[in-house]
């Protein structure tokens, strides 16, 4: 091998290794942030409706904190190499997306769009060759939210909120209709989409139970 070429390749590889290490540092940090967010969001299952706003308020600064990470990553990814490195932060980013869309649903009952999610996580239009939220990542975030919503439907009833399952049911059905429009390969997304059907089924069951109980015990809702 030509010594100069050997040197050149070594320089390239060292550059890549250095970049990978830098990204890793940010990903470790990102991972820590999103674990805290997901852990905090997990409290929703034992939080009475009245306390939900407080919980959400505690989450907003964390979401905002993710903007540092996306900015940091966008700052070090060389132009047009986004797809080269993105596998490294896939999991953390999907957890952040999940947190953003879940918080929005809990706060407003609305679906946070991909564009709005990008905005919330500080992803800027002008980075589009360095850092974007891909459709796939967004869809993974949505599915994780549905997984949690089926748990929430169950737990909100335990906490005495009999309206929540119905709201959740309508929201999730619409999401499901959206997902049904996609042509998926036999990949992780399709397997997760399949699992989503069980969440919907569970939510339906809760709606069922609640409707029938209300019919039997009209006083329950009132209390």
């Amino acid at each position: 091998m030509d010594p100069q070429d050997l040197q050149f390749i070594n320089t390239l590889l060292d550059g890549d290794a250095e970049l990978r290490d830098k990204i890793k540092e940010h990903v470790v940090d990102f991972d820590r942030k999103t674990r805290t967010m997901v852990g905090t969001l997990n409290k929703i299952h034992s939080t009475p409706s009245s306390q939900v706003p407080v919980l959400l308020d505690s989450l907003r600064p964390m979401l905002l904190g993710c903007q540092n990470t996306t900015a940091a990553l966008a700052g070090i990814i060389p132009p047009e190499q986004f797809w080269r490195w993105k596998d490294m932060w896939n999991n953390s980013l999907r957890a952040a997306i999940f947190s953003a869309v879940f918080v929005e649903f809990l706060a407003t009952g609305h679906l946070l769009s991909l564009a709005a999610t990008s905005e919330q996580l500080g992803v800027r239009e002008e980075w589009k060759d360095r850092f974007i939220i891909s459709v796939e990542d967004y869809l993974h975030g949505l599915i994780t939210m549905v997984n949690e919503l089926s748990r929430l439907a169950v737990n909100s009833v335990t906490l005495g909120d009999f309206e929540a399952p119905i709201r959740i049911s309508l929201f999730v059905k619409e999401l499901f209709a959206g997902f049904s429009m996609l042509n998926l390969k036999n990949d992780l997304l399709r397997r997760r989409f399949d699992s989503l059907k069980y969440d919907i089924k569970k939510i339906e069951e809760v709606v069922y139970d609640v409707s029938l109980r209300q019919l039997a015990n009209p006083t329950v809702t009132a209390s």
Binding site: S169, F176, S180, N183, K197, V210, S211
Partner: protein
């Protein structure tokens, strides 16, 4: 025996002919693999289309099935055209030479076709019906239909029926649907069992079918358990819930 007797000229010519033969074979193989991939993709999209239509809200389940089948069959005609295109490539004995290159696409096509057929008729498409879908206007088939591809293709149908049953189970009338699908899949599993010693890989598919069946059975069970707690028919339950939401 003299060295010159090995007739170098003719042997070089022979090897040149062999080269052409091998190159032609490899090129054809490659074209068929590509075509099989195209067929696979198109067939998978038909399956998604069928699921999509079946999850639409509709008052009349039968009407939905007919429309899904009609749209599915329409799209499947494009896939059939892809098979028509390779007709010459696999004419005569060549079909069997390249069978394992074509199989993946052929099985995906059969899966999609059998799904559309099930939605329309509630039955398993027959071997002859599959073969008939791969013929020209005059009814002559594009190529022989291997029994193995037919069976492996329709085996995959059970997975799609499981998805279909799970997503339609909480719709009005979905309980009946789930129980129909459950019986149908149970029948498929039993019927195919006898073929497993003959068809390579069929026993793997049977294992998947068993899993799908279990999922359908458990979904049907959940419905029965719930409705048993009250003394109401499924339809009455549907109506009560309909009012609540």
């Amino acid at each position: 025996m003299s060295p010159s007797a090995t007739t170098p000229a003719s042997s070089a010519a022979a090897f040149l002919a062999f080269r052409d033969d091998l190159d032609e074979h490899n090129d054809r193989r490659e074209r068929l693999i590509k075509c099989s991939r195209d067929i696979t993709i198109a067939s998978k999209r038909v399956v998604f289309l069928l699921h999509r239509i079946m999850t639409e809200a509709a008052s009349d389940g039968r009407e939905l099935s007919s429309r899904a089948a009609a749209e599915g069959h329409k799209k499947l005609r494009d896939v059939q055209a892809l098979f028509a295109n390779i007709r010459e490539e696999v004419r005569g004995d060549r079909f069997w030479r390249y069978q394992h290159n074509i199989s993946p696409g052929l099985q995906e096509y059969i899966e999609a076709l059998s799904f559309a057929h099930y939605l329309e008729h509630g039955t398993l498409i027959t071997y002859d019906e599959v073969h008939a879908s791969l013929t020209d206007e005059s009814g002559s088939p594009y190529f022989p239909l291997p029994v193995s591809d037919y069976l492996l293709g329709v085996s995959d149908l059970t997975g799609e029926l499981m998805r279909f049953a799970i997503s339609s189970i909480s719709k009005r009338g979905g309980r009946t649907k789930a129980s129909e699908v459950s019986n149908f899949v149970r029948g498929c599993k039993a019927d195919f069992e006898g073929f497993t010693p003959h068809i390579r890989d069929l026993s793997k598919k049977q294992a998947v079918t068993s899993q799908s069946l279990r999922k359908i059975e458990e979904a049907a069970y959940a419905i029965v358990v719930r409705s048993s707690e009250y003394d109401l028919t499924p339809e009455q339950l549907d109506d009560i819930v309909g009012q609540a939401v």
